[in-house]
């Protein structure tokens, strides 16, 4: 696409749990300004890749290089967990939604802006006595939260507890919360799971808007409709290995992909839906 370094370069990533190799020698790239989808049958190792990228697992071997827009390169595999979001600007959502259920929608978005509002602990403590630039920062944070609440259509529910929202709204809120950290790469773990067709469409629109605002996306998704519609680039995993990599059209016509989804016959119930969409 361009000559500059890819936003995220995964090189020879291997992850073993005891004797089980979940991901083996995986390499792919996610380019800046694109939506990259990672697909594959259940158990292919997609979430494991995600957990390695976002610092929840330490890979057994291999490298994960993130190049920030300002040119700084970071090796994600050696950053402490919280630095992934803070320094590398990689945000994520979870397959099982992890909102702060007992806090309001607005509070969820405020927590996401923690590091911007409170760069140092000392500063955070001094704010108790009204010192520092806390007030203006809080105003900025509220504005940003309001912006994202507007984006996801939850502005009127800002003061309701997150745990009381319907499922689809919780999914969108989780995305908004991740966006409030100001990421350069947003990783979404099955964002369309459990959504009805209308909600899926809205989600696609939201993701396209996010991309349009300059944030790149990496997503794991089972809903092939969503993947094919919005992805610029698709990586297909099976049994921890990459079996295909290319544009949605290329991947859709790749015999290996069709074989992985249809061929072995031991896949679970999600296969037909996926294959249908792929066909």
């Amino acid at each position: 696409m361009s000559t500059q370094a890819p936003l995220l370069a995964v090189a020879n990533l291997t992850m073993r749990f005891g004797g089980l190799t979940a991901v083996s020698a995986l390499s792919f790239q996610a380019r800046s300004g694109e939506i990259t989808a990672v697909i594959g049958p259940n158990g292919a190792g997609k979430t494991t890749v995600f957990n390695c990228i976002t610092g929840f697992y330490r890979p057994t071997s291999g490298g994960l290089t993130l190049t920030r827009p300002d040119g700084v390169q970071l090796a994600l595999q050696s950053l402490p967990g919280h630095r992934i979001a803070r320094t590398a600007k990689v945000a994520r959502t979870f397959q099982n939604i992890r909102l702060f259920a007992g806090m309001t929608v607005l509070e969820n978005l405020m927590v996401a802006q923690h590091n911007m509002m409170m760069p140092t602990v000392i500063g955070g403590l001094l704010a108790v006595f009204g010192l520092g630039s806390y007030r203006s920062k809080q105003r900025v944070a509220i504005d940003r939260a309001r912006h994202w609440l507007n984006e996801i259509g939850l502005l009127n529910r800002a003061d309701d507890p997150a745990g009381a929202l319907p499922y689809g709204a919780q999914r969108r809120l989780e995305i908004a919360r991740a966006m409030c950290t100001g990421p350069v790469l947003l990783c979404l773990d099955e964002p369309a799971a459990g959504l009805n067709p209308r909600e899926s469409d809205e989600l696609s629109d939201l993701l396209m808007r996010i991309r349009g605002d300059g944030c790149s996306l990496l997503l794991i998704e089972h809903d092939m409709g969503v993947v094919m519609r919005i992805s610029d680039h698709v990586v297909v995993l099976d049994h921890g290995k990459k079996i295909s990599d290319g544009t949605p059209t290329e991947v859709r016509n790749d015999p290996k992909v069709i074989a992985a989804y249809l061929g072995e016959g031991d896949e679970d119930e999600e296969t037909p839906a996926g294959a249908e969409a792929a066909a």
Partner: protein
């Protein structure tokens, strides 16, 4: 060398007692995920019941020591098991499925109740028991230092091992054990599969209380002196042992008990007696820093 051996013998004996109590902590924790703070006090009640049993039997004119011990053990275990059952029924069952800290506070309350109940009903003074099983044999002698293994220590070890064997059989081979393990894995699923979880949990408390009573009786026979307060420190030590071994793991509880017993006795023997608890707790902290799930605990893989 000889001195070390003696300390190890003493440490193992003490460790057996801790191990028996620790099993009760770890079992309850494994199944309902709560720290049963009153467990140490059940141990104390077990010791008191044993002393009462022995006193009553001697008043009734039963002079055969083995017979008196056997009858007392059975009676004390039975009554203490009733205590365990009642505590669960009154203080924990109404809070099942409630928030995490409510059962903990309730357990602390129950511990206070049991302690003060015994203090009020039996007084605060130390009660003593004449040694019932005197003597022992010489293991070795070196430089004039005689390593003694008393019959008491032999009996404690043998009884503990027998109890643990019975208990292991109970957990691995019986349907009760199967229910217990099922509840430990997933209590909701176990309920759906038709396991009477209330009954299983009650029985867990009953078994735990019985084992603690065995430990209480051993403590009484070994040290010959008890008061209403022994439950606290023994309980904390046994809970430490359970955590050290990896809470939820039954062999871990016994291993942890032995470890704590050995640390205490070796530290007392070579460093200083007053700081033996500090040594035990410090080892716990250090082990947990490097092995956050304890010695034999299942590693806690973060599910994301």
């Amino acid at each position: 060398m000889a001195y070390a051996l003696q300390q190890i013998i003493n440490g193992v004996t003490l460790g057996m007692i801790y191990g028996l109590i620790a099993v009760g902590y770890t079992m309850v924790y494994g199944i309902i995920g709560m720290i049963n703070f009153a467990h140490g006090d059940i141990f104390m009640i077990g010791a008191f019941l044993s002393l009462m049993g022995l006193t009553v039997l001697s008043a009734l004119g039963i002079t055969s020591v083995p017979l008196a011990l056997a009858i007392t053990l059975i009676l004390a275990c039975g009554i203490a098991a009733l205590y365990g059952w009642t505590v669960e029924r009154i203080a924990y069952r109404p809070l099942r499925g409630s928030f995490r800290l409510a059962p903990l506070i309730s357990a602390i309350g129950m511990s206070i109740v049991l302690q003060n109940f015994v203090q009020v009903s039996q007084g605060a003074r130390d009660l003593n028991l004449m040694p019932l099983i005197p003597g022992g044999f010489k293991v070795m002698e070196q430089d004039g230092f005689v390593v003694q293994l008393s019959w008491m220590q032999v009996m404690i070890s043998v009884t503990t091992l027998v109890m643990l064997a019975i208990f292991t059989w109970l957990v691995t081979k019986t349907s009760l054990g199967r229910s217990m393990r099922a509840c430990e894995q997933d209590i909701k699923m176990a309920t759906l599969l038709g396991i009477d979880t209330d009954r299983t949990i009650s029985l867990t408390f009953v078994i735990g209380a019985a084992l603690a009573t065995v430990a209480g009786m051993m403590f009484l026979l070994y040290y010959g002196s008890i008061n209403f307060y022994i439950g606290f420190s023994a309980g904390v030590k046994a809970f430490t042992a359970a955590v050290l071994g990896g809470i939820g793991s039954l062999p871990g509880a016994v291993l942890g008990g032995l470890a704590i017993g050995l640390i205490e006795s070796l530290w007392s023997g070579y460093a200083s007696v007053p700081y033996k608890d500090v040594a035990a707790f410090s080892v716990l902290a250090i082990v947990l820093i490097f092995m956050p799930s304890g010695l034999l605990g299942r590693a806690d893989i973060e599910k994301v």
